[in-house]
């Protein structure tokens, strides 16, 4: 047997208006973790979709050899049949089915169409043990955090006798400890002879676990780095990705902080379904003009819920508390009122809550402030084109035209569209919920620059982020949330990673 498990040769893939992949060659050795990195829209996801048959044979040119055999997959079932399993960034689990049912979906432990529950359960338990997930096989997916769902996805792949596992940004929505666990799991799978391809924008974790790193830029292979031969620094990877040296991760910033612009007092929110469960418990937070305030905490600590409840009660029931803007009480009981009071909330979940995927980029950008490009309710289309074009250039949204559908953008570029929408709404107080999730290092820098610029214009910004370096790198002040409560507040000058981590984790069950 050769030591190359996968070889893709001269892959070219075109979409109407864009060539997503140009003559890309890519090979993976047996038993390695091969990282695939590159800027947003570089073609990483597309390459993996070609590989797994999402884009069927014939819709691209080039050859694919897996285990030495030529492959011409027409759909995912065919690629899964040979042991190639892809885990998409948007998890594909069925929320109201149990773990066991999800594990064997489409691959049921059954005889003549009748499910053998005993075998299902015992196999499920064996798989859960393999991936180190301590949950009952009967737990419903909807009752688990994203981190655990990710583990279920991997267990599901193992159930299909996976030989090459493909993970597209698996850690994008995981916090650090969950990411850690996931990477451990990949290393463990590697011991058992399962190769994997890891797509990630978190350069740190790439340099930690990868055996080889392939860098894509603008749809072409730039280079493949072999980590066994030389030590690869993070800066080295970044240079390959963006084509130049990026000396600082965070832009320089002089804060010029004014008086308090927005404040929330005694804010209490209850869960919309389990109405006796408090999700925000007596919260008091504020932001001043020109200030960037970080909200740190674990996934599920109630940060998103807090922000959404403030944004026109878009989340929760029985909300009590008062909001002040410039010292005066304001009414933010509906989203319209919140927006007209100058509040914006850019969501973390771009597909479900951020974008109208079947609409054009331009329509998405103007949606929250349509009246700005309309007179008497009639849209001024030329003006709309001009302003959305400006945002495309300012944020570097990579697209063939602003008339392209949001659905056809790469993940990171979709995120930029969501941001553009809220910048266009011209708010005074912004809640940015994981604004750099799934965004490449170069573009992250651009987004930090935009945040700084907003602050220098005198806006107040809340930044919700699971990446501690980011919080420490650009915030003036930091709140730490745990289980729906604010458990700490500190100036970032006196904050360290360890100190914040301690507050995030103490009393964790």
């Amino acid at each position: 047997m050769s030591d190359v498990i996968l070889e893709m040769r001269n892959i070219t893939k075109e979409f109407p208006g864009v060539t997503a992949l140009k003559n890309v060659s890519f090979s993976v050795r047996r038993g390695e973790i091969h990282a695939l990195v590159g800027e947003n829209g570089a073609g990483k996801s597309t390459l993996m979709e070609v590989l797994s048959g999402v884009h069927p044979y014939g819709s691209y040119s080039g050859d694919i050899y897996f285990e030495g055999k030529e492959c011409q997959f027409r759909d995912i079932t065919q690629s899964e049949a040979v042991g190639l399993v892809i885990i998409h960034q948007e998890l594909a689990l069925i929320p109201f089915l149990s773990i066991a049912e999800n594990l064997f979906l489409g691959n049921e432990r059954a005889k003549n169409g009748i499910i053998d529950w005993n075998k299902t359960i015992s196999d499920a338990e064996a798989l859960l043990k393999k991936v180190g997930l301590k949950e009952s096989h009967s737990t419903l997916i909807t009752n688990m955090g994203v981190g655990k769902q990710q583990q279920v996805e991997i267990a599901k792949a193992l159930a299909k006798e996976v030989r090459l596992l493909i993970l597209d940004e698996p850690t994008a929505s995981l916090n650090e400890s969950d990411s850690e666990k996931l990477l451990e799991l990949l290393l463990q799978l590697k011991e058992n002879g399962i190769s994997s391809i890891l797509i990630s924008h978190k350069i740190g974790e790439v340099s930690k676990v990868a055996d080889s790193i392939t860098i894509l830029r603008d749809g072409a292979t730039i280079e493949t780095l072999d980590c066994a031969k030389e030590t690869i620094t993070e800066d080295r990877i970044i240079r390959g990705m963006v084509g130049r040296d990026l000396t600082h991760r965070f832009p320089e910033r002089k804060s010029n902080i004014g008086e308090t612009i927005f404040e929330i007092r005694d804010w209490n929110v209850y869960h919309p379904l389990h109405t006796d469960r408090k999700v925000s418990d007596n919260i008091n937070i504020s932001v001043r003009r020109g200030e960037v305030v970080g909200i740190s905490g674990l996934m599920g600590s109630g940060r998103t819920e807090l922000a959404m409840s403030i944004f026109g009660e878009a989340y929760g029931t029985n909300i009590s508390g008062t909001a002040y803007k410039n010292g005066e009480e304001i009414d933010i009981s509906t989203i319209e009122k919140a927006i007209s009071n100058g509040i914006a909330y850019a969501t973390e979940d771009r597909k479900a809550y951020g974008l109208i995927l079947i609409d054009q980029i331009k329509d998405n950008i103007t949606l929250a402030n349509l009246d700005a490009v309309a007179g008497h309710g009639v849209i001024n289309e030329p003006q709309e084109m001009t302003v959305t074009g400006e945002y495309r250039d300012k944020l570097g949204i990579k697209c063939s035209s602003i008339l392209q559908l949001a659905r056809n953008l790469s993940g990171g570029n979709q995120q930029k569209v969501v941001l553009s929408k809220w910048l266009f709404a011209n708010p005074e107080i912004l809640f940015l919920d994981e604004p750099t999730r799934g965004i490449d290092v170069g573009a992250k820098y651009e987004i930090y620059t935009i945040i700084n610029q907003l602050a220098s214009e005198g806006k107040g910004i809340f930044l919700i982020s699971s990446e501690l370096p980011e919080i420490l790198g650009i915030c003036d002040r930091i709140y730490v949330m745990r289980e729906g409560k604010i458990v700490a507040e500190m100036q970032s000058s006196e904050a360290t990673q360890e100190k914040v981590m301690k507050y995030i984790l103490t009393n964790k069950r």
């Binding site: 109407p16 944004f311 878009a314 509906t334 989203i335 319209e336 927006i339 909330y345 969501t347 479900a352 809550y353 951020g354 974008l355 109208i356 995927l357 079947i358 609409d359 329509d363 949606l367 929250a368 349509l370 009246d371 309309a374 309710g377 009639v378 849209i379 289309e381 030329p382 084109m385 001009t386 035209s401 008339l403 056809n408 929408k421």
Partner: protein, 387 residues
Amino acid sequence: MKTLASLFKKNIREYGMLIALVMIMVFFQWKTGGILMKPINITNLVLQNSYIIIMALGMLIVIVAGWIDLSVGSVAAVIGAVAAVLMVRLDVNWVVTFMISLLAGALIGAFQGYWIAYAKIPAFIVTLAGMLVFRGLTLVILNGEAVGPFPVGFQKLSSGFIPDFFNYDGLHLTTIVIGGLLSIILIFMDIKNRKNQQKYGFDVTPFYFFIIKNIVITGAIMGLCFLMASYKGLPNVLVILVILIAFYGFITSKTTLGRRIYAMGGNEKAARLSGVNSPRLLFYTFVNMGVLSALAGMIVAARLNVATPKAGDGFELDVIAACYIGGASASGGIGKIIGAVVGAFLIGVMNNGMSILGIGIDWQQAIKGLVLLLAVYFDVYNKNKSI
């Protein structure tokens, strides 16, 4: 410049249904030995289908918003009954009746819209209930009898023609003048649109294609006008129709209101989080549907000159089919007014053509069903290919 092949590929989707309509017309023209395109039949075709088209305008918006309305046939019937009782039994002036009936339609729409938008009951269920309720009320109001005839003014709503200001023998010149004006306006708008697109550096269709397109459209309008002019001229209904189509076409494609409806149908949660007041929009979408159903109901009654308990039976199916044939998406957020109109005409021509050929209602239904399925398949197939 785009290649001819890609141009064709893109436009087969845009104009696919139009081509299908023309093909079906040619087919029936041939099969009926030329009866289909006779002036009197063309006029009849418009009269017979006007109410389907009117309701399809409202239905398209409902479908784009992500829902469906099953009650339109029953609402049309109940409003026809209300109008009939007002005019015939209570001797109310027909203009007043007309206004009251439209208002009643709005109220019915508001009633259903409330349950859908604010009480969050799926439209399928609310309007299924509405379909039964209003059919029942029609029977109650009419006491199970047919009520008519109506004042002449009211009848003219459906059976009248616009007056002729020129007295030219055998040809209704006003009709031709109006057709000419309409063509000029359309050409002018298209030129402006094209200039705008060029200004912003977007790909425009090749010039020869632009010319051909305008010649075809003008030809179709003028041809239709000549046919009608050689009979009795433009029917009043057609004038109402053109105005309504232009109005709703404008609302859906050019206004913030329209944009928000598409956004809501495309992703309700994201639209809400962008400040779109989706319950209110949805509510008014159904109010609008109610008003258009009411108008359609009156036109049906005026055409038959009697309100019957069975009026409007099964209309909802033709109306919904028209929208889907015209390219609306069942999951919301996609669909065009002009598509729904073409879809409605397609169904109308089939109804008419098959009736002339003496095909029974049984087979007509079966054939229409298959056409619906094929049309949507064609759409889905094209979309999948272009991803």
